[in-house]
Every structure is written in structure tokens, then in C-alpha cells.
């Protein structure tokens, strides 16, 4: 009898210790996974951030120091009397201040225009019934898949015919008028608005434009914010159209100015990196300020 009881207790002990062991193993395993995950995250973050870091360091070096071997991380210009010499040279002597102004103007106008055209079209696609609606919407999405190379040659010929070369117009108008992505984004957003709001307003005698303007637009503020920053960033970074349409140096945007500078001063890395920082920094600030809207906007482009 006593033996049996002792055996039972032993078995019980074994079970308890086995369970404890399992828990300990589990905790150990999750510790190991966490370390592995954080390790990988850090490695990827390093690969992602290092080029930006190196750009920044180089932009604060004396021009001769970039050709000193082995390369070092010392921003040697900071110890001189003119720590921002590369920046002042690029901004004023090479006119990057003006290019930044041009980029700001083009990106703001195009993005604001996209908000108007895309929200108007999105409202109609989401809330109204009209002939050919699905065909038009399908065509719009289809054009997202057509490479820009297919349409850019006729577009160029049109701009020549219109006499728009060396104006801001070809940088703004095409982007402003075919916001396929934006129309898609806002259509999806407007579809989620309950119909009762619309009906109540109609009964009160509101015009369709008033419904759009005073009910739908305010409700869509987060989606509009996403679209604005995304369109702004895309237009700020655009290279192909400035390359094709702008030869007047006073109208250059930052990416065009940067490639021109590269053509003229191929190995002036301190200047080129200062120019790169100037064209990236505003976008990084926008990104940090509006990260939520940007991430949300891009993420929703993947969900049907």
C-alpha cells in the first residue's frame, strides 16, 4: 500500500517537473527567437540606414578627405570655421535653393490638384450609378499596369505641340489629371460611408456638390491626408518628366539638378552628397511627421 502511494507521488513529481521543464524550455526557446528576431532586425536596419549615414558623413568632409585611404567616418569639415561649406556651396553657388523651391511648387500643386480630381471622381465611382461606370473604372486600373514608356512618347509630342516645354505645366498637369491610384484609394474610402448621411442631406435639399463638399470630403480627411503626402513625395522625386521637359536651368527640380551636378562634377562626392541630403531631408521630415498617413495609404493599396 505504502509503495503504491510512494509510486503515485513519484509519478506526480515527475509530471510536475516535466511540465516545469517544458515551460522552461519554452521560455528559453522564445528568448532564443527574440534574440534572433532582434538580431535580424538590427542587421536589416543597419543595411537600410547606412547609406544615409554615409551620405551625411561625406557631406561634412573636406573635399580632399574623401580620397584618403582607408575611408574613415570623420566629418572633418566640422572642425573648420565653415562646417556647412558644402551645403552653402550647393545651395547658393549651384542654385539648389532655387531647385528646392521649384520642387516644392511642383509637388504642392500636383498633389493639391490630385486631391480635387481624385476625390471628385472617387465620389462619383463610389456613390453614383452611371453608364460605363465599371468599364471606366476598369480602364483606370488597367492604365496602372501600362508602363509609362508606352505613353510618354505621345505625351512628349503633345507637350511640344502645346508649347509647354520649359514650363512647369508638363510636370504638373499629367500627374494632376490621372491619379489612378488616388481615385482607387478614395473610391474605396467613400464606399464605407453610410448611405443614410447622404439621404438625409438630399432630403434637406443639398446639391450633389454640397454633399460631396460638406459631408464626404470632411469624412475622408485621413484618406485625403494619405493621398496628399503620397502624391507630394512621388512628384518631389519624379525624374523622367523633368529630364524630358526642362532644359531651362531656372526651372530644374532637385532630382534633375542633382543629376546635372553629377554630370558636371562626377567625383566631387562632398558636393554630390550634400545635394543628396538636401533633396532627401525634406521628404524624411514629411515622412516622420505624417508616417501614419503614408503607411496607411500605401498599405491600403494592397488590400482589395
Amino acid at each position: 500500500m505504502a509503495d503504491v502511494r510512494r509510486d503515485a507521488r513519484l509519478v506526480q513529481l515527475e509530471i510536475v517537473s516535466a511540465a516545469m521543464g517544458a515551460r522552461r524550455r519554452k521560455r528559453l526557446r522564445s528568448l532564443v527567437t527574440n534574440v534572433a528576431v532582434y538580431g535580424s532586425l538590427l542587421v536589416f536596419a543597419f543595411i537600410t540606414l547606412f547609406p544615409f549615414f554615409w551620405m551625411l558623413i561625406t557631406s561634412f568632409k573636406l573635399p580632399g578627405d574623401v580620397f584618403r585611404l582607408p575611408p574613415n567616418l570623420r566629418p572633418s569639415l566640422l572642425w573648420t570655421e565653415t562646417p556647412f561649406a558644402n551645403y552653402t556651396q550647393v545651395l547658393f553657388q549651384f542654385d539648389f535653393l532655387r531647385y528646392a523651391g521649384n520642387s516644392l511648387f511642383v509637388a504642392t500643386t500636383a498633389a493639391t490638384g490630385q486631391l480635387v480630381t481624385c476625390s471628385l471622381a472617387g465620389f462619383a465611382f463610389a456613390r453614383m450609378r452611371f453608364p460605363l461606370k465599371n468599364v471606366l473604372f476598369g480602364l483606370l486600373i488597367f492604365t496602372l499596369l501600362v508602363p509609362i514608356e508606352v505613353t510618354i512618347i505621345p505625351e512628349f509630342l503633345l507637350m511640344v505641340r502645346l508649347g509647354w516645354l520649359d514650363t512647369y505645366l508638363p510636370l504638373i498637369v499629367p500627374s494632376l489629371m490621372v491619379g489612378a491610384f488616388g481615385t482607387f484609394l478614395l473610391t474605396e474610402y467613400f464606399k464605407t460611408v453610410p448611405a443614410s448621411l447622404e439621404e438625409a442631406a438630399t432630403i434637406d435639399g443639398a446639391s450633389p456638390f454640397a454633399i460631396y463638399r460638406h459631408i464626404f470630403l470632411p469624412l475622408a480627411t485621413p484618406a485625403l491626408a494619405s493621398l496628399f503626402v503620397i502624391a507630394f513625395i512621388t512628384n518631389w522625386n519624379e525624374l523622367l518628366r523633368p529630364v524630358l521637359y526642362i532644359s531651362d536651368r531656372n526651372l530644374r527640380t532637385l532630382p534633375l539638378g542633382l543629376t546635372t551636378l553629377q554630370g558636371q562634377y562626377e567625383s566631387s562626392w562632398t558636393l554630390l552628397m550634400a545635394g543628396s541630403v538636401i533633396s532627401i531631408l525634406p521628404m524624411i521630415l514629411v515622412y516622420l511627421a505624417a508616417q501614419k498617413y503614408i503607411i496607411r495609404g500605401f498599405m491600403s493599396s494592397g488590400i482589395k
Partner: protein, 290 residues
């Protein structure tokens, strides 16, 4: 809701005009141009299929076509692999994962010209950081000229573009991962499935519609590489890193051969369209719609 008949058209008018003038008409128009010889200084001349015949017989075209395929074969798997890995990593509910997500997405919103310049400087043959690291830390005697050697230039361009855009693929995958019902994974775990099995038999199949979408997006992105090539190699050395999109730009806007460039553009469209179609046909084999 009922609206007056013409109202919807007033709302879509600006977009409709844009769609016609900048998309649909140009798509048709460039098809027409592709049957002409046209250097924009003299009027176009109808030459039938000559442009297509010329391009099929030109070794330069086949070199560029091969580059385009190789580029896609390198870029698409790399960017998708990176995107999925990053998404899986930031999807672990660990402290700081939002921060890392923000970091990984950052290159995508920065000017490709600027980051291409930074990479050009890192990859520079003699004074570049990478080659000096290879020599000093790994004892490599004669590190290659990444952008100047025809064997490596195309791969370097593909890598830089993948580095810049992986954050976007990550976001798309992340949206897909967050849509997966956690209880399915838990149920499988209770039934004794290992983490690897859960990933292989639950996560991957449920993610496959997004994977398909990302595949199409990445293929299209890889067929449109202009900016990164322009800033990094200019298509060189010789034609080693020239892909079809860049070749179109050169023919149209450097040599002003609008007709020939348009025939190239239509070849590109055919290539992208064909690949997309093949993918849609193959989709049934591996994409699961739950």
C-alpha cells in the same frame, strides 16, 4: 442614391479628360507611331512592320531584352524575399516593431536619384567603402568595379532598386499577414504543428493572394526601371545595364527615333502583358482564396 443623369459625368470629367488625353489616346497613338519612321524634325513616314523587323534582327535589342529578363529574374525574387522577411520580422509583436517598420520603409519615400548617388559612392572602385572593406577586412586582392564591369553592373542596379523598394513590398505583405486569422494558427499549434509547419501550411497559403499581387507589382516595377539606371550607370558600360525601359528612353529622347522607340515600347507592353497573363493562368496552381 439618385442623381440627375449628367451629374456623375461632371464629377468624373477632369479625371476622364486626363485618362483620355494622357493614357488611352497615347496608348493607341504610340501603337500607330510604331509603324512609322519619325525623327520628329521631319514628318512621320509609314513603314509598316519595318521597325519590328529591324528590332528583331538587331543584336543590340536582344542584348537589351536579355538584360531585361535577367534584371527581372534577379530583382523580383530578391525584393519579394526581402519584403516577406521584413514583414515577418516586424509582424512579431515585439517592442519597437513599429519603429523598425518605419525604418525599413524609409528608402522608398526618398529620391532614387539621391540614394543611387550614395550607392554609387559606396560602390566606387578605388575609394568606395565596399571595396575598401573587402580589401581590408576580407583580404580580397582585386575587388571588382561594380558599376564599371559589364559582368556586375546590371546586378548592382537590380540590388540598389531592391534595397530601395523592399520596404513597399514589406508593407503589402504586412497588410496580408495582419489579415490572417490568428485562431487558425493557434488551432494548428494545439494539434501539434511546429512553427515551420504553421508557416508552410497555414501562413503561406493564406498569404498567397497578396503574394500574387506583390509578384505582379514587382514585375511591373522591374520592367519600368528608368530612374535608378539613369542615375547609377546610364545603362553602361556599353549596354551592359540597359534594360528595355531605358533603351526606349535612349531611342526616343537621345536619338529622337520616335517610331523605333514606340515599337520597343509596344514590345515592352507585350512582355509585361504576357508575363501578367501567364501569372494569371498559373495563379490557380498556387493561389488560395479562402
Amino acid at each position: 442614391m439618385r442623381y440627375a443623369k449628367f451629374t456623375p459625368f461632371l464629377f468624373i470629367l477632369p479625371m476622364l479628360v486626363g485618362l483620355l488625353v494622357f493614357r488611352l489616346i497615347p496608348i493607341g497613338f504610340s501603337f500607330g507611331i510604331s509603324f512609322t519612321s519619325w525623327n520628329i524634325f521631319s514628318p512621320p513616314r509609314w513603314i509598316g512592320f519595318d521597325n519590328y523587323r529591324t528590332l528583331l534582327q538587331s543584336p543590340a535589342f536582344w542584348e537589351v531584352a536579355r538584360n531585361t529578363v535577367v534584371f527581372a529574374l534577379v530583382f523580383v525574387p530578391v525584393v519579394m524575399g526581402l519584403g516577406l522577411s521584413l514583414a515577418l520580422l516586424v509582424n512579431q509583436k515585439l517592442r519597437g516593431s513599429t519603429f523598425f517598420r518605419g525604418v525599413f520603409f524609409m528608402p522608398y519615400i526618398t529620391s532614387i536619384v539621391a540614394v543611387a548617388l550614395a550607392w554609387k559612392w559606396i560602390l566606387a572602385t578605388r575609394f568606395g567603402l565596399l571595396n575598401n572593406a573587402l580589401m581590408d577586412w576580407f583580404g580580397v586582392q582585386h575587388p571588382p568595379s561594380w558599376l564599371g564591369d559589364p559582368r556586375y553592373a546590371l546586378f548592382a542596379v537590380a540590388f540598389v532598386l531592391a534595397w530601395q523598394s523592399a520596404g513597399f513590398q514589406m508593407l503589402l505583405f504586412l497588410a496580408g499577414l495582419q489579415n490572417i486569422d490568428e485562431s487558425l494558427k493557434e488551432a494548428a499549434m494545439i494539434d501539434g504543428a511546429s512553427r515551420g509547419q504553421v508557416f508552410r501550411f497555414i501562413t503561406l497559403p493564406l498569404l498567397s493572394p497578396i503574394t500574387f499581387f506583390v509578384l505582379i507589382i514587382s514585375l511591373i516595377a522591374s520592367s519600368q526601371t528608368f530612374e535608378v539606371t539613369y542615375a547609377l550607370t546610364g545603362g553602361g558600360p556599353q549596354r551592359a545595364s540597359t534594360t528595355l525601359a531605358f533603351y526606349i528612353y535612349q531611342n526616343a529622347f537621345v536619338h529622337f527615333q520616335m517610331g523605333f522607340a514606340s515599337s520597343l515600347a509596344y514590345t515592352l507592353l507585350l512582355f509585361v502583358g504576357g508575363l501578367t497573363l501567364v501569372n494569371f493562368v498559373l495563379r490557380r496552381r498556387w493561389v488560395h482564396y479562402g
